[in-house]
Assembly symmetry: C2
Homo-oligomer: 325 residues x 2
């Protein structure tokens, strides 16, 4: 009998840690509203599409989570992630016919807006003498494309954007999404590209007020965030196709850690990437393969997400045909 | 003889800490470019303006600084600050005839854009049938105002925007700005609204790679960032009018801490604000006054920065008349 969770921690300990994480987390402020939006989005995509089947739906997570150090939050620990991977992948999934729930950190890269300047409003527009706003000629094409494609995706019910900041918000929303996607069975996918905090300060042991900078150093003790990936796979979304990401700065340990994650959390696929080359190349790790996926350098303006999503869609199709393989 | 820095730490210790901070900081990547832009901006504003004097120049700092926990940065500690105060104050300073160096955290609030939706590009625009981009009627006025006023400020050389992320970038840029503003004498002002980290991990003792989440808790030891306010006042910009901010979540200790900061760092003014009421009321603390400044609730769309900047401009005028008072 399997009495461990597969990650070296007894199942009861993990269950207790997860229970304690959720019980002590500050409740989501707009839970009912999110629930409603999710239900509507899934219901519409459950209706038979062109090929007579429900549409495939992928939850793409994107950007880093924060860990508050104080309840009335002034300071927090943040995981760096621009959200570029998640935003790019969302575009490619939609192009491939998927509906996407884009669970993203506020103010990170948004789908269709990746190639625009940091502050497009002030950099791309000008006001004419007649007080009309007009787009500068040089930016016109990129802007028209961004606005058109974004509006089309939303109008066709192919894109639902849900923002988060903290690890507490992220994990509560991920759970809600997973449960709402149950009805999709194997048509559902999780593409977990967000940079999720490994450590946090439990809400119950958190300082109420701003930590004072008295003399001397500051020592902070952080505890591990319970590994939710195994719960996602086993309990929240047992039928969904699950892909997680492994980012390291040290190439030497990257593939080994990706392999470990695959087995530990029973993922269907782990995408391994190294910080400095992540926009050029990733390695797709499955139970019996390691496939290097590279950006097509012969073409201008292509992403590594282009061949990556193509490969993933193939594997997801095979999984839908035979989920038990 | 004054052998302490006025903050309970011997002057030699402080000097050594500051020297060590700057020596160990990763060098600014675009130092020469920033230097050039600063010189050009100051030079243009040194030319006599309408009243025959050089223009007053204020350096407004805005947003929070980050503290990397790893050299190839994946995780960092962040100080929360939306940058709303700095962005609003910049607008009011420009209206009052100042030129503003807006030293701001990337992706925080920008002057003239505060009242726009979070993602104005996707929320305010639509594409017509003829593939023209047009502004939705309801957002037209706010957008036209934002773009017009921003372009006017930049064109008239009244706004220079310089972005930062880390505490290392922030303090090196603040030093450069202060030194470049020396020629302005008492016409120069520092309005230090940024939320600067109190603690950091020295670059020399920082992990090279991503910290691994092995079993067990993570303990982080942070050391205090040397108090640069006293160096700014004494060495970098001894003639400038200096205003710092004190933010607390606990009202009981707020005024006391503001008073301490005024004396310790020899500020001309400290603006005390409490996290939950900071958009409605602040208390201006000087050596002989405590003035409560409130937003004018009888008028729609006004900020607390409106009366605040009015008061500051008055005090700066008096200071220019007689810097020794």
């Amino acid at each position: 009998m399997d009495v461990t969770s597969g990650i070296g921690v007894p199942q009861e300990t993990l269950d207790a840690e997860i229970k304690s994480f959720f019980e002590s987390a500050p409740p989501l402020k707009n839970r009912d509203h999110i629930c409603e939006k999710l239900k509507e989005f899934i219901d519409r995509n459950l209706l038979p599409s062109g090929n007579g089947n429900a549409r495939r739906v992928v939850c793409v997570t994107s950007g880093g989570t924060t860990v508050p150090l104080e309840r009335r939050c002034v300071r927090h620990i943040d995981n760096f992630s621009s959200g570029h991977r998640g935003a790019a992948s969302t575009e490619h999934f939609i192009k491939a016919g998927y509906a996407v729930i884009f669970l993203h950190r506020r103010r990170t890269y948004q789908p269709y807006c990746r190639s625009l300047p940091e502050d497009p409003l002030l950099e791309c527009f000008e006001v004419t003498d007649e007080s009309n706003i007009q787009v500068r000629q040089s930016d016109s094409e990129a802007l028209t494309r961004a606005i058109t494609e974004h509006h089309a995706a939303v109008a066709e019910n192919l894109l639902l954007k849900l923002p988060f900041n903290t690890i507490f918000e992220y994990l509560q929303m991920l759970q809600m999404i997973a449960i709402s996607m149950t009805s999709l069975g194997a048509q559902a996918m999780f593409y977990l590209a967000a940079a999720v905090s490994d450590f946090y300060v439990p809400w119950t042991s958190m300082a109420e007020h701003k930590i004072q900078s008295a003399s001397g150093p500051l020592d902070i003790r952080l505890v591990q965030v319970p590994k939710m990936l195994s719960v996602l796979r086993k309990v929240w979304a047992p039928m969904a196709y699950c892909i997680s990401f492994k980012l390291e700065t040290d190439t030497k340990i990257l593939l080994e850690k990706a392999d470990m994650a695959l087995k530990k959390y029973k993922m269907h696929m782990v995408v391994a990437n190294e910080l400095s080359t992540r926009k050029e190349e990733v390695v797709v790790v499955t139970s019996n393969e390691k496939i290097s996926v590279c950006r097509d350098k012969t073409q201008v303006g292509t992403d590594v997400e282009n061949p990556l999503i193509r490969l993933i869609v193939e594997r997801h199709s095979a999984y839908i045909e035979n989920p038990d393989l």
